[in-house]
Structures are given as structure tokens and as C-alpha cells.
């Protein structure tokens, strides 16, 4: 029993060491920032199509759809750049994490409502569910990365004082 516990403890310690390693954190920042910058560029170039997708989620009141579709991609872009460049990393990673939380909520609610996000219509087709599940997993992984960047920075600042 004791041995098992120490092995788990050791693995957990090593895991923490790895995810708090400054190079790992740099890679995390590149991944999070890179993905958000990449995702934002297409939305900024085609606001009409992005607004259509937001509409299909059937989550926001009609009057807020366009303003959301105009501003959110820019928030993603700026925060993505800041996270990579190392400016306001904490606030930027917090904003990106909050965005991811809202995406996860919107996705999972529609997942259970049986809404096909692509056409905005209700469908029981399992194919749509599969795509939704992959998107959800991706968002959860990104959220974990975002929170780790946020928390490690917080710890570092506190230690510095």
C-alpha cells in the first residue's frame, strides 16, 4: 500500500515539476497563443460567416450576435499575441480561459440539446455529436493549458515578493 502511494506521489511530483518547468510553460504559451491567433484571423477576415456560426449556436440574443462576432476575434488575437510576447500574460491567459469556459458551456448545452452546430438545426445524427465531442475535448485541453499559465505566473509573482 505504502509503496503504491509513494509511486503515485512521485509521479505527481514529477508531473508538477514538468508542467512548471519554464520551457514547458513557454511551449504552453506558444500553443495557447498560436491556436488563438490562428483561429482569430479567419474570423476577422470573414465576420459575416462567424456571425452565422454564432447565430447557429442559438445562445445569444439576436441583437448581440453581430457585436459579439466583431469583438471576440480581436480579443482572441490580442490576448494570443500578449500570451506569446509575454505582455500581461496573466490577464490575457485569464481572458482566454474565460472564453474557453464559455465555449465549453455553449458547446455542451447544444450537445445535450441535440443541436447540429453546422446547420443550426436540431438533429439526432450521431455524426454531429462526434464532431461536438472532439471540439469539447480540444477546448478542455486548451483550458487546462490556459489555467496552468495563469496559475504558474501567479505563483511566480507571489514568490518574488
Amino acid at each position: 500500500m505504502r509503496k503504491g502511494k509513494t509511486i503515485v506521489d512521485k509521479m505527481w511530483r514529477n508531473f508538477k515539476k514538468i508542467i512548471n518547468n519554464r520551457y514547458t510553460l513557454l511551449v504552453f504559451r506558444l500553443i495557447l497563443g498560436g491556436i488563438f491567433i490562428y483561429a482569430s484571423l479567419d474570423k476577422i477576415a470573414h465576420p459575416d460567416q462567424f456571425a452565422k456560426i454564432v447565430y447557429n449556436y442559438k445562445f445569444l440574443p439576436h441583437s448581440l450576435i453581430n457585436i459579439f462576432a466583431i469583438i471576440v476575434p480581436w480579443v482572441e488575437l490580442i490576448c494570443g499575441i500578449f500570451v506569446i510576447a509575454g505582455i500581461f500574460v496573466q490577464s490575457s491567459s485569464a481572458i482566454l480561459s474565460l472564453l474557453l469556459v464559455s465555449f465549453i458551456i455553449a458547446l455542451s448545452v447544444n450537445f445535450f440539446r441535440g443541436l447540429d452546430i453546422n446547420c443550426g438545426c436540431f438533429s439526432t445524427d450521431p455524426k454531429g455529436k462526434e464532431e461536438g465531442a472532439i471540439l469539447l475535448i480540444r477546448d478542455f485541453v486548451l483550458l487546462a493549458i490556459g489555467l496552468q499559465i495563469f496559475l504558474s505566473n501567479l505563483r511566480r509573482l507571489n514568490n518574488a515578493k
Binding site: 456571425a51 457585436i67 480581436w74
Partner: protein
């Protein structure tokens, strides 16, 4: 004493963090609105996303435009159903089609247009009336399908926007399973 000082420092940190966050969002909003007004690809700040009512019993999705194939009501769809000169197309996915569809309708999922067109085209006729439908008023697949079919040269196109939802609700002839398009 030391503990209290720490918690004060943390509090100040969070206020700073929050203010930085607000600043970032304001900066992004200014850039976004600026870009939206001057890029030439901008959209209006408030969009028209509501369904429109064309007549008493005809509600069309916001994307329905003038010049699109004629939208028909449930009773018009019923009349057409009795005519031998009409083909119904179900624009939903094969899965939804198999769960239940208008009797005799062919499955033609809009999202797989290129795959299905060669299979469905031989069963269509340019002289017959083609009526596309999908889930219901919120669904635009039938509208998009008829737009593509018009580009292929079909003229007698109509859209039954009430779709599967309306048809099933009033208990009109339906069938399940078997994909006639394959």
C-alpha cells in the same frame, strides 16, 4: 501580521489583473470596431437574425431573400403531394431521413451535395416540380439546396419551410428507413 500583508498584496494583484483585463478588452473592442468600419468587409453592429413573416402562414428564415425559390405553406405542400408531377427532396442528413421523412421523398443532404448530386440527378426531372424541405422554419438546408439546384438549371423549385416538423405534427403520410437516393 505577515499573513495580512500577504493577503493585501494578493488583493492588489487581483485588482491590477482585473484592470489589465478590462484594458485588453477595451483595446480589442476599439481595434475591432475600427477595423469593422474601415476594412470593407465589416458587418452592421446589430444584425437582422429573426425569421420574417411573409404572409399569414408563411414564416421564412432571415436568410431568405427576394428571388429565392418560392416558399410554400403546409397546405400548398399537401396539394403538391397529391400531384404526380412533384418530387420531394429531404435536405437533412441520411440519419435524420432514415428516422422518418415525407412519404416518397428522396434524401439529398445539402451538406453532402457533391456526393449526392450524381445519385439523385437521374431521378429528378427538369419538368417536374421539386420541393425541398428540412427540419423546420429554423432550418435553412432546404433553401441552400434549392439555390444550388437552380444553378444546375432546375427551374420548378419550391421550398416547404415548415418541413418535417409541420408535416409530422399534422399526421400526414410518412415513412421510415430505406434511402431511395442510394
Amino acid at each position: 501580521m505577515k499573513l495580512r500583508r500577504n493577503s493585501i498584496i494578493r488583493e492588489i494583484d487581483f485588482i491590477k489583473l482585473f484592470l489589465n483585463g478590462v484594458g485588453i478588452i477595451i483595446l480589442a473592442s476599439i481595434l475591432a470596431l475600427f477595423y469593422n468600419s474601415f476594412s470593407g468587409r465589416g458587418i452592421s453592429l446589430i444584425g437582422s437574425w429573426s425569421n420574417r413573416i411573409l404572409s399569414d402562414s408563411l414564416i421564412v428564415p432571415y436568410s431568405y431573400q427576394e428571388g429565392d425559390p418560392q416558399a410554400i405553406t403546409l397546405s400548398e405542400a399537401m396539394m403538391e403531394f397529391q400531384s404526380s408531377n412533384t418530387i420531394f427532396l429531404d435536405a437533412r442528413s441520411e440519419f435524420d431521413y432514415k428516422q422518418g421523412h415525407i412519404k416518397g421523398a428522396l434524401n439529398f443532404p445539402f451538406e453532402e451535395f457533391d456526393d449526392y448530386y450524381p445519385k439523385v440527378a437521374p431521378k429528378l426531372s427538369r419538368d417536374k416540380t421539386i420541393i425541398a424541405y428540412c427540419d423546420g422554419t429554423e432550418c435553412e438546408l432546404s433553401l441552400f439546396l434549392t439555390r444550388l439546384l437552380r444553378e444546375e438549371g432546375y427551374q420548378y423549385l419550391k421550398i416547404f419551410l415548415g418541413g418535417w416538423e409541420e408535416w409530422e405534427k399534422v399526421g400526414l403520410p410518412v415513412e421510415k428507413g430505406e434511402n431511395h437516393s442510394r
